[in-house]
């Protein structure tokens, strides 16, 4: 009798436990997709935020700013990371489908860094020289003060916000056909690291194992390195905002996450990763 009571009690507990699990609220999920430049930063944000909010799951993926914006438009992501502002045509698509203009949240600043191999004699270039190099007008390091060796170009794929930003702000035209497109900034850094004649570009956070090229606004200007001070003072000529986009004004857990990113704790991590805070 006692045994059966015990069994009933255990079974009842089990039922309550199962029911409790079944009816306990499912963890809320936030999806973040977009800029490869922002993947590391975004993943770090997510990891730290999830530690203090165990009921929220944040899934971060890259793919490029264009891919992220497309995902935002077709409803596949809650937050889009973009290393460039949304284009007019992309805002039009949001208007057509969701009747909103999208919400733009600048969350960090970045100086697009020009990567050179450590063996390269060149250490500074002007915007015009970079334009000539990446458009294919200058093809030998000798033409910009280096050794007599051909220049090897590495860049991002056209879905990348960095690709678009660098094209609009530096190249100001088409990239040279010889420019090899690589999937991700880490791949660009890796390629430049291995190739003595290589040049590439990408986010400051990835610049390890390579030489950072100083950049001049024009031939007569002083050259500046992409660092916090120069970017804050507006001296480094290729700096940009990094954005988060949502379809509507963020609410609930998405708002909580974004508010935290813009807080002192979130912005501290921006500096730790190698970018520059907006607040």
């Amino acid at each position: 009798m006692k045994k059966s009571r015990k069994l009933i009690a255990i079974l009842a507990l089990l039922v309550i436990a199962v029911a409790g699990v079944a009816f306990s609220p499912a963890p809320k999920k936030i999806t973040v997709k977009g800029s490869d430049t922002m993947v590391i930063l975004s993943q770090n944000w997510a990891e730290v935020f999830m530690k203090s909010h165990p009921d929220i799951i944040i899934q971060v993926t890259g793919g490029g700013s264009g891919t992220g914006i497309s995902a935002l438009i077709n409803g596949a992501t809650d937050i889009c990371n973009a290393s460039r502002p949304m284009k007019k045509s992309e805002i039009e698509k949001l208007k057509e489908r969701y009747n909103t203009m999208g919400v733009e949240i600048p969350c960090a600043k970045d100086g697009i860094t020009v990567y050179l191999n450590k063996a390269n004699a060149v250490s500074e270039l002007s915007i015009q020289q970079l334009s000539d190099i990446f458009s294919g007008k200058v093809t030998n390091w000798k033409q910009v003060g280096g050794s007599d060796t051909p220049i090897k170009l590495y860049g991002r794929e056209n879905s990348s916000g960095t690709y678009v930003f660098f094209q609009e702000e530096v190249v100001k035209g088409d990239y040279a056909p010889s420019c090899q497109s690589l999937p991700g900034t880490a791949a660009v850094v890796n390629a430049v690291m291995k190739d003595a004649n290589a040049i590439g570009y990408g986010g400051a956070a990835y610049a390890e194992g390579i030489k950072i090229c100083k950049v001049k606004k024009d031939a007569n200007s002083p050259a500046y390195e992409a660092n916090a001070e120069n970017i804050k003072k507006g001296l480094y000529p290729i700096s940009r905002y990094l954005y988060m986009y949502t379809r509507n004004r963020p609410t609930g857990e998405t708002k909580e996450f974004i508010d935290w990113i813009l807080s002192a704790d979130g912005q501290k991590m921006v500096t730790e990763v190698g970018y520059f805070p907006v607040r």
């Binding site: 438009i73 077709n74 409803g75 007019k88 208007k95 057509e96 489908r97 969701y98 009747n99 909103t100 203009m101 919400v103 035209g173 088409d174 379809r247 509507n248 004004r249």
Partner: protein, 505 residues
Amino acid sequence: MKKRGRINLVLVMLICVSTFMPGAEIFAQGKNDSIKEEVTTLRDKVTGVEERLAAAENSLEKMTKIKLSGYIQAQWQYFGNPAVYPNNYFSLRRVRLKIEYKPVEGVAFVLSPDFSPSGFVLKDAYVQLNDPWLKTFSLWAGQFNRPDYEVEYSSSKREVPERSMVVRALYPGERAIGAKLEVAPPTVPLKFQLAVFNGNDHLVIKDINGNDINPKNKDFDNYKDLMGRLTYNFKLGNFGGLDIGVNGYYGWMKSNSTTVLNSDYTLYKNVSVGQSVNRHWVGGEMQLYMDILGGMSIKAEYMMGINAYPGAVGSFSVQDPFHTTLVNDTLMMTNMITNTNQINPTIRRNFMGGYVYLIKNIGKRNQFAFRWDFYDPNTKLNGNQIGVVKYDNGSSDIKTTTTIDGSNPVIVLNETTKTVTTNTLKSGTSDLSYNTFTFAWNYFFTDNLRIQLAYEMPIAEKVGVDASGNSNLVKQYTVNDKTITNNYNKGFSQNVVTIRLQAKF
């Protein structure tokens, strides 16, 4: 013995080592050679793969220059109008394919056919040249959408099944053949479009016998039409945004008639065939986007001006059978030929029309839409004046000349009244104004698949009655041997229910 044995063992070992050492060297060298050979083979293979990959990339790059998109709209509709038979059916409203080819930066070719069962129609076919320097100007040539908000808003995105009545009346088929300059600076939220068109695109223009003289959309006069649209976008912070714009149409069409009437069916002026008649109108538009518990928008447009209907002139003869007449006890036989000179006057109608949309997104998948659209094709006549004799076109309508000839003896009847005037043209259904209320619910299964439920309620203005109390305007139709009378005094249902499934790629 032990010592000897040890020596022997050492000797054997030495012999073995001396015997096998060269073999091991040979073996190692052989292995190296085979590895080298293998590496060479692999290198060749990698080179081969690289070459194939380069060729594939080259082909793939060409393919990336071609973009294919399209959509299918399959629907079931129910019609409240008793004159429509069958009153419900399934149909394919649109079956579109859009092929976009960008051979080089800044150049695009666009081709968009529609494969609906009602007949193959070429929708878009144009070349677009974009300026690669300022990225501001683009030049279009071919057949493309006329510059107007609702026209340019794709049917695959529209929240209700069809465009508003005024837009359908002014821009039938939406597209026109011509050229367009578009100015859209990338850093300024402004867009200006200036287009020149043949102007007759997709209009139904009939000759005196009722034949369409504009079936192939080939221009039939020297007059070209100008159309412009200017829009500006304001950002309203986190609240949303406001787009405003103006548009105008400045066109001419040749009159196919010698008489031009005003909106109230009075004579405007007599012209010769080929002289131009005006088609001028202006419009204003706004789209307000608000982030209130999700996306919401109000979109509106208003247009007013003069639209011309080119009329027709012509003549035809009808030979009647023999007539017999008894004159002074003599039976006379005659041939009777009726020569008819018919003039269908050109009419320049003052019109106005517009629409207001209210669209609310509910979550990611649901969307509610309401539209009120209004169109008065003739602002100079109200309902009570439509179909009334006063608004007949008097004597300038159809003139019938009757002559009689034949073998002797010939008797000419009513020699002095050869001309018979009949009045057949009077204001009618084409002068009626409409208010249409449309309610729609869209559910998006995915971004590519949606279902739409829509209810459209067109309400025609009511006409007056004559002295006997009969409606001034009725239309009769025969449906399954039954006569259906649509009485425009009492009103009748023209409501339409649409359930549409749209797949887009």
